[in-house]
């Protein structure tokens, strides 16, 4: 048996810390680190202190949470469905969250209470997860099919909201929200979503033993005493809670959940249980670095996070396909 190379987790954590530090210093408004430190020591409030504590720290925290959630969700679903193409949005949860948030924008509720968007987004994700579970709980294939159906339903709802948008401005707001971003979210919104994300992580953290057994096949896993229905329910609840809350905060951010597990597999081996944590850490790193790149790339209109992850993610994906073609006979 080939031993997988040593887990590069400490290296990734060090990179993550460095990226988090950079994320506090780098922004559209360039303030030299000296000015930043002076600002933190000077009487408050002042510009540097406001920018760091009210804008850059929440943005960094959110990028880390959303990235980790997507990486973890992708790794769990790829294990559960035994499908390398699985990504966190596959079960309709992201679509449900996006639809909930868009409903808040559509009816103008978002303009009155800042917390309505994440609340309705989370409600949408949970409803979508429940619907997927209701129809698809009997097996892997039915779960995927039910997930596609729910995703389709949510996409139809989004298209309907754009179709009947009360004004061009509302349509514009909906489309830009859907592009995905972690910029300028309020602390109160982050505080609201954190318990849901943590609860989701807990559910997902209970799945590794079952996922390992599942690599042998469904019948073998059941004979090893794994309750597959329970495992599916846990994974789906975890994804609905964490990915749902993450999407409700940040909009649709593609490819991180799909790519992160693939990129850590060569380093940590192919057992699902060994991939979860590195994939979460790598997802966080990937999203944070992308978010820093957005601030550095000079664009006249703000480049949205979801757009850049998709742009970067696609070539990675082609590379994966080529690698799979080389590996398979």
């Amino acid at each position: 048996m080939v031993r997988p190379p040593q887990a590069p987790l400490p290296l990734m954590l060090a990179l993550l810390l460095a990226a988090a530090g950079a994320s506090l210093v780098i922004g559209k408004v360039w303030l030299p680190p000296v000015v930043l430190f002076d600002g933190l020591a000077a009487p408050k409030p002042n510009l540097a202190w406001l920018i760091v504590t009210e804008l850059r720290i929440p943005r960094t925290v959110l990028a880390l949470m959303v990235g980790a959630t997507l990486g973890l969700g992708g790794a769990v679903l790829q294990g559960l469905l035994r499908n390398p193409l699985a990504e966190p949005g596959l079960l309709g949860v992201s679509g449900g969250a996006a639809l909930g948030a868009v409903i808040a924008i559509y009816f103008g509720l978002a303009a009155r209470f800042a917390l309505v968007t994440p609340l309705l987004g989370i409600a949408g994700a949970l409803a979508a997860g429940a619907l997927t579970f209701l129809f698809g709980r009997s097996g892997t294939l039915t779960l995927i099919l039910a997930g596609s159906a729910v995703s389709g339903l949510a996409a139809a709802g989004l298209a309907l909201a754009l179709n009947f948008a009360p004004s061009p401005y509302a349509a514009y707001e909906i489309t830009t929200w859907l592009l995905g971003s972690v910029a300028e979210r309020e602390w109160s919104q982050i505080v609201l979503c954190t318990p849901f994300i943590l609860a989701g992580w807990l559910c997902l953290a209970a799945t590794p033993r079952g996922l390992d057994a599942l690599t042998l096949g469904e019948a073998q896993a059941e004979s090893l005493g794994v309750n597959l229905n329970m495992l599916r329910a846990l994974a789906l609840a975890g994804v609905a809670l964490s990915v749902g809350a993450a999407t409700a905060m940040a909009g649709a951010i593609g490819f991180v959940g799909l790519v992160a597990p693939h990129l850590v597999r060569p380093f940590v081996g192919y057992r699902p249980s060994r991939i979860l944590l590195p994939s979460a850490v790598f997802g966080a790193l990937l999203l944070l670095v992308t978010d820093i790149a957005i601030r550095v790339i000079p664009t006249s209109a703000e480049l949205k996070l979801g757009v850049l992850t998709s742009l970067i993610g696609t070539p990675f994906f082609f590379w994966l396909v080529l690698r799979l073609r080389r590996l398979s006979p």
Binding site: G27, K28, V29, P45, N46, L47, L50, I51, E54, L55, A110, A111, R112, F113, A114, P166, S167, Y169, A170, Y172, E173, T176, A183, E184, E186, W187, S188, S300, A301, E302
Partner: protein, 252 residues
Amino acid sequence: MMLCNDVLLLMMVPKDRIASITYLAHDAVEALLPGADTGVAVNHGTAEEILLQKPDLILAGTDSAPMARKLAKAVGARVVEVEAAHSFADIRRIVRQVGEAVGEPGRAHVLLAEMDGNLAWLASHQPARPLRVVAWSGSQAVPGRGTLTNEIIAASGADNIAARLLDNRYGSFGLEALLAAWPDAILQGETRWSGPSLQDAQSMHPLIERYWHGRRIAYPDAAYACGLPQSADAAIALRNLYRELPAGRLRW
């Protein structure tokens, strides 16, 4: 099929000469000429409606002109293509153009004289210290140089900070740049419009609520989207609102 043209049309000719206006015009009419469109037929820019209403003249926007020409041939109508106005000079041009097209050059002259009178009054009553303002309702599509909003702000005697921050006509800058620029007041567009006001109803980032409380000015999106003689009234309304702002510079 271009709502700004329709508002202009409602000011130029009596209702019985109007075959139809676009359904999109209603909000703008409510903001600028309340009630002026009651009883006027609407169209949705479809061929069937045009064939049914058989107009003699179609006022088209730049985007809808090709389609309008095709339809016009079918009903034997004339097409006049009216560009969107991004400055007071543009407004003078299109008002004269539409006035000629509908056979009311005198009415166009009266409307423009009124506008130029308002602009002259504004120019002769400049505030001692120009306020630094920006039209910012979230980080997207902030109007900079070359936009009608910029012209209205300039005419109102204020300094649009977006004109210096952006290279494009419309651009985006986030809260970081807004904090660093530290404007005296923030203008925010409203879709549903009930008159100019200092607004605090619309929820924004807590930083905006904290520091620009009482310094947020609501304006009707529709009025700033259309270059019309009323654009000078919009500038006067802005000037009057500046007086309601808290005195002195904004402090941390």
